[in-house]
């Protein structure tokens, strides 16, 4: 009975981060053991497993904000849910969260909270973005934002196609901190670097997603497309003019990518804000009642 109850609750907790789930189940297991010791029926004592799990999810939701990583390994945040969860992706655009860095959307480490950057730069206020503003973002601006990563990735692909035949069979496999080549790899590895930009750029073209997710996805894809362009450019330049410090183009691409992705989100949002502000009440207008009439 105890194991059955525990299994039933576990089945309803799949969306909880592993650490929270295991902590909750461990506590429940101890509680079930106590109930078993006095011969109590868990369903009678705790309610049915689905309701119990729903209560747990609600209680733990507060303790699992979207800016918390799925796991932590040696103190480093580890995340895998970014590609499938809009809620997790939204941590890279969270103006209400003052933290400049948040756990990455996929992999180990941290990434920028573009929302906090925009607030620090005075581009928006922490509570400017709401459903009304998002609804006011013009569709043309949204499509233009989604076109940015595809344009960068497309330009990178076109540039690579133009120089492909002139490239040697092997290219730099990577660069050291000084920007010099670390070794050789087949030139086909350039296609993997290209895919790093093209894949997310294509994925960010979805038009059926929510407005905020379309912008956030386009911003992430813009950042990746810019880094991909930096890697491809550095590798091609190294192949054509060896012994330079071309690898420095890769770290140089990071701030460019961050600035471009910031523009991809903030531009359309400010357009939405301007439209929302058109309906602003005059400053001297009668204050609204503190409670809505209906």
């Amino acid at each position: 009975m105890t194991d059955e109850y525990l299994r039933a609750v576990r089945a309803h907790l799949a969306r909880l981060p592993e650490a929270d789930r295991s902590r909750a189940l461990s506590a429940l297991s101890a509680q079930l053991d106590e109930l078993a010791a006095i011969g109590a029926d868990p369903v009678e004592a705790l309610g049915d497993p689905a309701t119990y799990a729903a209560d747990l999810l609600e209680a733990l939701a507060e303790e699992s904000p979207t800016d918390s990583a799925q796991w932590r390994v040696l103190g480093l945040p580890v995340e895998t849910r970014g590609p499938v969860s809009a809620e997790v992706r939204s941590r890279t655009w969270d103006p209400a969260n003052p933290s400049l860095v948040v756990p990455r959307l996929f992999g180990i480490g941290w990434t920028l909270n573009l929302g906090a950057v925009a607030v620090r730069m005075g581009l928006i206020r922490p509570d400017d973005t709401d459903d009304e503003v998002l609804a006011n973002v013009p569709e043309g601006h949204l499509r233009a934002a989604q076109a940015v990563p595809i344009a960068i990735a497309g330009a990178t692909a076109a540039g690579l196609a133009l120089v492909w035949r002139g490239l040697p069979a092997t290219v730099a496999s990577g660069f050291d901190v000084g920007g010099r080549s670390r070794g050789d790899a087949p030139r086909s590895t350039l296609l993997a670097a290209l895919a790093l930009g093209v894949g997310p750029a294509l994925w960010a073209q979805r038009r059926d997603a929510a407005v905020e997710d379309r912008l956030v996805s386009a911003a992430s894809a813009t950042s990746l497309a810019t880094i991909s362009a930096g890697v491809v450019l550095a590798t091609v330049a190294e192949a054509r003019h060896p012994r330079g410090r071309w690898g420095l183009l890769v770290p140089a691409a990071l701030p460019v990518g961050a600035a471009a992705s910031l523009a991809v989100v903030v531009g359309p949002l400010r357009a939405g804000l301007r439209r929302a502000w058109r309906g602003a009440a005059p400053e001297t207008s009668t204050p609204m009642p503190t409670t809505e009439p209906s």
């Binding site: 969260n97 206020r125 509570d127 929302a276 309906g279 005059p282 609204m288 809505e292």
Partner: protein
Amino acid sequence: MPTTDRTVQLRKGVLELAILAVLGREECYSIEIIERLDAFPALTATPGTVYPLLARLDKAGLVATRWVEAGGGPPRKYYRLTRDGRASLAEGATAWAALSSEMTEILGEGLS
């Protein structure tokens, strides 16, 4: 009165109720809400705490917003209670009164 770690921990659960109470008195924009809370040292909260709470109250339908022109700057977002927000404030106030009274009693017994 200094804001101790213990105060910070206790405050976590009641800050949302305090914001509803501020908005129960008058419609405010976010900085005003933070200033109103600042008048009560134990309830002083940073924007990083208040903004996510406001977003949550908005999503839960407990507050409504509107833009109001501000002389010399961009329009400000004003928050006010919805009917559900007013009900939540009343419910929270009742719960707080009961909790506060019972805590005072049990603490009094513990300290005596």
